[in-house]
Amino acid sequence: MLRAAACLTLLAINAVPAVAQESTTVGGYGEIHYTNPRGRNTPAEVNLRRFVVYLAHTFNDRVAFRSELELEDAKVEGGSPGGEVALEQAFLDYRVADAITVRTGLVLPPVGIINETHEPPAFNGVDRPAFDHDVIPTTWREIGVGVVGRLPVADGWNYRLYLVNGLRADGFSGADGIRGGRQEGREASFANPSLTGRLEWVRPAGGLRVGGSFWYGGTTAGDTLLGTGSFAAPIALLSADVRYDRGALAVRAVVATVSVSDAASINALYGSTVGRRIGGGYLEGAYEILRHVRAFVRHERYDTQIEVPTGTPRDRGFARRITTLGLSYKPTWNTVFKGDYTVLRTAAGTGQGETLRLGVGYQF
């Protein structure tokens, strides 16, 4: 009888609906912005900031491809500045075991919150936090190979660990830190392989996600004047982040510190002013005041020249404090209308400003 029941069970179960084995998914996200800096002679601007096509293909249970092709600022024209067409991600995943997937290609260093989760409905504010531009250089992507997966130790643990190409010190700057050093998959120098990774924990019942990330690697791009060896002129980045959701309340915070130990030689060689230490963070709280309407406030504090090497002038205009107040209306979870007001202050009192922004965003 028992065997008959088991047999019946198997027969019955084979009849349940199936999923196509090989399948292609098309998706996308985008955002359109209206930006109006306060003051005279600062006219407003409208911009189709991002239009991204997401294309993925599942070959079988083990192998899948994912990509994002991005058009920034609506148009790219030869000979005129602005606009960008770029691949933001393009990688092949090979699942070796439940806990181990090998990922190869153009990947996102898993640093902070925004770099991996940058679809406009997923963050508050029309623009991404400025911290996620000047300190963590989103959208940061480099080519390499790594392993990602769930740690089998206990529920809620995820990890990623990648070996990717290094940053280029000749792109570093005082204002934008390491941002200009990204190679973004375009004929990138592999003179300085770098390691980047992340460990995160999610509370199994939901509501809390905590992560820690790092990047370590040389930056010479083969320029022997800056040093020889794979890890010459290294940068070390450490970051931690938290996301907390409870009922109508959503809180997130990120901190990061970047050390550029050979900033003195980098600045001497390339005539730049990169800080020896870059860092800061932000704290953001949002509350659903009406159904689908969230009010939020974010305070960012960071400095791209916390320390400078001897001989490099320190610009206190790079020590920034930014407060953003805004509203988001999300008629569906994946579409958003946004408006916010940003106040930028600096320790030097230079480069300050206030800006009104409006925007729409979507993902599907």
């Binding site: 029941a5 179960i13 349940v16 609906p17 999923v19 196509a20 090989e22 997966g149 019942a205 939901g206």
Partner: protein, 145 residues
């Protein structure tokens, strides 16, 4: 070529939800298949398997109801993304237990969100609602009994 959920996973899920010795028979309802679960002459409930697209990969789940059409449990049978997958945890799934098709199931209200896993949370919640509504409708029409 197609792939269903591994039969062993469905069997294990049914066993976990309805206890050992539960016998399953397949009932076709149009193009869909419902698993009728009984022990001897007593009806224990029904179960159906559904798929929803997460970010790009389908998430395969099972919804089980009891004879009074209340949701008994949800199981995530296959989560195909290499990481994430927090929707499979019991601590999150248990929020669906005891719900019926007329109950409201809204993310951020009755169903807690999982920070950083918005897509999976919305997808699975929508999928569960849909399968629960189907099962309830078929029960009321007498298509499954």
């Amino acid at each position: 070529m197609t792939q269903g959920p591994p039969p062993a996973k469905v069997a294990a899920s049914i066993r976990r939800i309805f206890g050992p010795g539960a016998e399953t028979s397949a009932v076709a309802v149009g193009a869909d298949t419902v698993l009728r679960v009984a022990r001897g002459d007593s009806l224990l409930g029904f179960a159906a398997v559904g798929n929803v697209i997460g970010k790009d990969q389908p998430i395969t789940f099972l919804v089980a109801i009891d004879p009074s059409d209340r949701l008994k449990d949800v199981d995530i049978l296959v989560y195909r993304e290499p990481y994430g997958g927090e929707v499979a945890y019991d601590a999150w799934r248990r929020q669906f237990r005891g719900k019926s098709a007329t109950d409201s199931l809204r993310v951020g209200r009755e169903i807690r969100t999982i920070s950083g896993a918005t897509i999976s949370v919305h997808a699975v919640t929508l999928g569960v609602k849909r399968v629960l509504a189907d099962l309830t409708r078929w029960r009321q029409s007498g298509a499954i009994r």
